[in-house]
């Protein structure tokens, strides 16, 4: 697995602007993620969080530049990019009838020749990932029949099978209850430490964002409104201005805790 380029930045986003259906969703966004860092993008609905992740992952066209490990994504072939960046989308497609092992094997696509078949090494990676995510016993079960938490682990497993040093997670815990949210996030954090992954995530849950991220980027109306350590971004003033939310920010062990309050 390759590690970060000498500059220390895994991802450099410069002036990224995206227009979808004639509407400007992102305008002039800059962002840096350092190697091994967990960077979480927060922001109200429609701020452009998912769009930013999709731009970094190469899923849509944009103006500006995205550089991953020192190479502009515009210069990366699809397969080369897929070896560097793995994405867990907000709502991954669940192919009807596909079993977990075959689904995770899809993560090996960038390593398998276009018309070839997977090698023993590819199979070994899949088995290792299944083992690591405690999915071995579900290997031959259809993905559609797993519970929410198990399925989220399977989505993560496919991304890990790509063995990419940059992991993009678009609201990885939205569909989960609080226990499974923590299970998945702890798992991602462990994997990040074990394998030196860089994590770029989005979330709506501000306390979770502060607990797990090294740094936060607050997007509002397609622009970066604030960036920095959780304590700098999760302030009552910023959250009230950009979310229109009434919150108390309390000091926590790992980061500020954001609590919604009534008048």
């Amino acid at each position: 697995m390759s590690t970060a380029a000498s500059g220390g930045n895994t991802v450099e986003v410069r002036g990224v602007t995206v227009a979808l259906d004639g509407r400007t969703v992102l305008s002039g966004v800059d962002l840096d993620a350092r190697a091994g860092e967990w960077l979480t993008v927060i922001g109200p609905n429609g701020a452009g969080k998912s769009t930013l992740l999709r731009a970094v992952g190469g899923a849509l066209s944009f103006t500006g530049s995205v550089t991953i490990f020192g190479t502009s994504t515009a210069d990366l072939a699809r397969r080369a990019r897929a070896r560097l960046v793995a994405t867990v989308p907000q709502q991954p497609t669940v192919p009807p009838g596909m079993v977990v092992e075959d689904y995770v094997l899809l993560g090996r696509t960038p390593y398998i020749p276009a018309l070839g078949r997977e090698s023993a090494a590819d199979r070994a990676v899949v088995h290792r990932v299944l083992e690591r995510l405690d999915l071995t016993r579900f290997a031959s079960r259809p993905l559609a029949r797993l519970s929410g938490g198990e399925r989220q682990r399977a989505f993560l497993a496919r991304a890990l099978a790509q063995e990419a040093p940059l992991l993009l997670l678009d609201e990885p815990t939205t569909a989960l209850d609080i226990g499974h949210q923590q299970e998945v996030l702890d798992l991602v954090d462990e994997l990040r430490r074990d394998q030196g992954l860089t994590v770029l995530a989005t979330t709506h849950d501000l306390s979770v964002a502060g607990e797990y991220a090294d740094r936060l980027v607050l997007l509002a109306e397609g622009r970066v409104a604030a960036a920095g350590a959780p304590a700098e971004v999760l302030t009552e003033e910023l959250l009230s201005r950009h979310y229109g939310a009434r919150v108390r920010v309390l000091p926590g062990e790992h980061g500020p805790l954001v609590v919604p309050v009534r008048w």
Partner: protein, 333 residues
């Protein structure tokens, strides 16, 4: 032996049984054992006349049925993967109607349904049809279900069939040639038809069969497939062209035989699960066996008269389609 290998063995066995049955039964009933031995060039005990019935009359017909069935089932499985739509089928998408229009246009000019120009013309018509159905049914509308594509296919089929009917009615010579072809030309099949279809079927099958894994990747949708390093747009165009080529060749030599492309791949899916690397080759084997047996039924039920084979497949396929449609609604396919 793994489960998949067992199904491959079963598929080969089905082809062998269908072949021997297709050769043995008919106006002159022959011993299946004798037929099998004759096929293997062993001492069969058949009289020279019986041997001639097997090799000259029945064999080209059975081989053509195997070829057409395999091609249509493969095309159906391929369309289902490419469109991520369990209802996709060469006939329901309008591809066959497009091929029919192309073929009729050539027959109208040449007055010969066996012309070498029929398959290329059918291919042109098939490509126009699938492009129309795709544009109308799979793009543009934001809220679409698997049925949307099929409704677009129905509209395209009606339109192209109207054009085809107009062409065939313009003069009497065309009508007769077109009818004999439309009703399924398996009944008059000779080695000429087999040779006419073979190159197209071989190219189509080769392209589709090597893309089994690509179709599995397409199952997660274009955006995710792209993020996995695949090129879904290019794969889709290539496979649509390949499946339409096979369909066109099948239509050119055998007329309109529906539902094979939906019955066979779905049955195979029930047997072996998802995974196009198994579904595609098994669909080809069972598709061939299925059509050869359907052709046998077409010959036997009203013997000595023949039922058009398209009637037999529709009789089995239409109820099957309803079952698949209901499963789709419940979201389990």
């Amino acid at each position: 032996m793994t489960l998949r290998k067992r199904w491959f063995a079963a598929g080969l066995a089905a082809v062998a049984v269908a072949t021997v049955a297709g050769l043995a039964f008919g106006p002159v009933r022959l011993s299946p054992v004798g037929v099998a031995l004759e096929l293997l060039h062993l001492h069969s005990g058949l009289t020279p006349r019986e041997a001639a019935i097997v090799t000259e009359l029945r064999l080209p017909r059975v081989v053509l049925a195997l070829l057409v069935g395999a091609t249509l089932a493969l095309a159906g499985g391929c369309y289902q993967g490419v469109f991520r739509n369990p209802l996709a089928d060469p006939y329901l998408l309008g591809v066959a109607a497009g091929a029919g229009l192309g073929a009729t246009a050539v027959i109208a000019v040449k007055h010969n349904a066996g012309s070498l120009a029929v398959p290329p013309a059918a291919f042109g018509g098939a490509l126009v049809a699938v492009a129309l159905t795709y544009v109308l049914g799979a793009t543009g509308t934001r809220y679409r279900t698997p049925a949307t594509l099929i409704l677009a296919g129905v509209a395209v089929t009606s339109f192209l069939t109207a054009g085809q009917t107009y062409l065939q009615q313009r003069d009497a010579g065309t009508i007769r040639e077109v009818y004999s072809w439309l009703l399924g030309r398996l009944s008059t099949a000779g080695w000429h038809d087999v040779l006419l279809m073979l190159p197209y079927a071989a190219v189509s099958a080769a392209v589709i069969l090597v893309h089994g894994r690509s179709l599995d990747v397409l199952a997660v949708g274009d955006e995710e497939a792209t993020s996995l390093g695949a090129n879904p747009q290019r794969t889709r165009v290539l496979l649509i062209v390949a499946a339409s080529l096979g369909t066109a060749a099948a239509v050119a030599v055998s007329g309109l035989i529906g539902f094979v492309g939906i019955i066979v791949p779905h049955t195979v899916r029930l047997l072996v699960g998802t995974g196009y690397r198994a579904i595609l080759p098994l669909s080809a084997l069972f598709g061939g066996a299925f059509l050869a047996l359907a052709d046998l039924a077409a010959r036997l039920v009203l013997a000595p008269a023949e039922v058009p084979i398209g009637v037999v497949t529709a009789f089995l396929g239409a109820p099957f389609f309803i079952v698949v449609l209901r499963t789709v609604r419940q979201g389990s396919v």
